[in-house]
Subunit: 356 residues, 2 copies
DNA sequence: CTGTTAGCGCATTCAA
DNA sequence: TTGAATGCGCTAACAG
């Protein structure tokens, strides 16, 4: 069994209070005794037992990261952002992935507890009334990343504008038949951002006097494979779209696969726009709405850490910028194309960016 | 402040021992009092404080997952495997990402402690002598995933054979100028598997009577961008390779980007083989060595959970199978190609697999 | 400046 | 079958 603070105290010939003081700099200690203690600590290779200190201090030094869509690359990039700042702090990360409704319930019932974690970082999920009640009752700091709640600090995007802007870009290119594929518009996992992106999509169409066709909107669980299926369905329609706007890059990659399956050339036969700008969007040369995922993770923990330190500040809301990154999956539709000319004909390899 | 076991006991009109017994089924309790306790638990929405529990039981119900190369998709797929089994257990996951030597030291110095975690799951890292000493001294269960140590349970691949097989395939296609790009052959982060893959590469060349050219081996930190750089260097050689075998898919994707930069056609101008078969290898139609990453995570935790339950079993070693998955980034080299014929000319979309 | 003690919340042993 | 007492390892308040 590992050494305890008592072993150290005995070996150093001091009391346990002194050892604790040395370890935590909690009160001045005579330099000589200090050295004796340090020597004993080194000798015994002593590291304080976290359970003991947690119990005593009423602080866990642990942050729960609650993640839905744990299968997607975008969540991983956020998590990487989180880990990069956590590595330099003295907090631990406890990871909770939720994929199903029962899991969601179990996690929200047991995790947001004082004595269990010091704070909650919640990705892409809006808390329900019950969730919020528990969070407030336990008085536990919580930050939403890609989520929204008036009473909780959160990091969000202007999804309506970003989506509208992206679809507007397609319209400007000359597209009139633009489809939208997305996650389910209303389920327990939606953070509402899905709905917002859909709204932006509609707004752009309506502003251009284009009809919103219900058959051009497909919904399904987030995965590349589902993106492929939904795109296949759309492209097999009697009057298929010439452009597809996807709720996420994950789905957009599926669209690209579907185009390949059907031997359609992208962008000439089909334009595709994604959302997120995951690392692989660059590889796939996907035109997409960039949100800085890594950064959202970084800002999220930092905000949470602040909130833990300073619990009584009013909830901060942080809006992250988005950018339409134009790469090589979008161009003018075939019937509008002037022969021999293509909007995306350059091969500079440089991303062209349009500020939102 | 949340309710404690004392609050429950008082409300139910019983002793705390009884409450504990009900909660843990640790001794028979009269059905009537049992119901009273349960009612009080529900009323107060009581959940035991884990720190108290841990301290008392000397068990943390927490597993540390130590991950290097946390930036890569392959590690994420492993982690997903881990989370899928953890969700059904009553263990928590504590995540430690290590990217630098100091981080590595700090993590291995503080994390493998009884009272801190119940077990260690280590990804793609071989423990040093010091690491092992601490692990044994603390008597803490540890499992290596994509790692090797004679005294520790581990999950590994036959990397030598898998790499040899992959390079052999390139040779069979007619390639003679085959390069290898990899992680640094010897740094503290290498799990030795890198060296093994290099060995397989050499063996295949030597068996075919091909010269091993030092300038055809490049080393660099794992990232797509580095893969691109290394490939660029290789392809700008006076006598460039006609095929590149990459230590990982991450690097291989960088090679594909480099080819695009140079306007080389893959596979006609350059064949590329990766290693791992991450999800995006499918999207990129990359020929690669498949190791089932998700599965390795699953097997890893399961093995660890077993070891925690049953600490005195002798260390299990599990070899996972690999498969060369042939997609569309490999073909016969240009000078050998019979005009109009291409080995990979079919477009069935089905992966052709070769068992190792 | 430092040793001693109380108590954090729980499981468990010892009595009853 | 159950209540009370003990201790897990630590921090912090208290007393010197």
């Amino acid at each position: 069994m590992p050494a305890t603070i008592h072993d150290v105290a005995k070996l150093a010939g001091v009391g346990i209070g002194t050892v604790s003081s040395v370890l935590n700099n909690s009160r001045p200690v005579n330099e000589t005794t200090r050295q004796k203690v340090l020597a004993a600590v080194a000798e015994l290779d002593f590291v304080p037992n976290p359970s003991g200190r947690r119990l005593s201090m009423g602080k866990t030094h642990t942050i729960a990261v609650i993640i839905t869509y744990f299968t997607t690359a975008s969540q991983f990039e956020r998590l990487r952002g989180v880990m990069s700042v956590i590595a330099e702090s003295d907090y631990d990360i406890s990871l909770f992935a939720i994929e199903t409704i029962p899991q969601r319930q179990r996690v929200f019932q047991t995790v947001p507890r004082r004595g269990r974690v010091d704070g909650l970082l919640i990705f892409s999920l809006n808390p329900t009334k019950d969730d919020l009640r528990r969070i407030r009752q336990e008085n536990i700091p919580a930050v939403l990343v890609e989520g929204y709640h008036p009473e909780l600090p959160h990091i969000f995007l202007d999804d309506v504008a970003a989506a509208r802007n992206a679809v507007q870009y397609l319209i400007d290119l000359g597209h009139q038949k633009i489809a939208y594929i997305s996650d389910y518009l209303d389920d327990l996992f939606s953070s509402g951002f899905n709905r917002n992106r859909y709204m932006g999509y509609r707004q752009a169409l309506e502003a251009a006097g284009l009809r919103v066709r219900p058959e051009y909107h497909r919904q399904g669980w987030q995965s590349r494979e589902n993106g492929r299926q939904m795109a296949l369905d759309l492209l097999n329609l009697p009057d298929p779209p010439t452009a597809i706007f996807a709720f996420s890059d994950e789905l957009a990659l599926g669209v690209l696969e579907a185009a390949r399956d059907l031997e359609l050339k992208v962008p000439d036969d089909l334009s595709v726009v994604g959302y997120d700008d995951i690392e692989l969007a660059h590889f796939a040369q996907l035109t997409t709405v960039r949100q800085n995922l890594f950064e959202s993770g970084v800002q999220g923990v930092e905000l949470l850490l602040d909130t833990i330190e300073n619990p009584h500040a009013s909830p901060t809301q942080l809006q992250l910028p988005t950018k339409l990154v134009i790469r090589k999956t979008t161009t003018v539709p075939k019937d509008k194309a002037v022969s021999g000319q293509s909007v995306n004909s350059d091969h500079s390899g440089l991303d062209k960016k349009t500020s939102l």
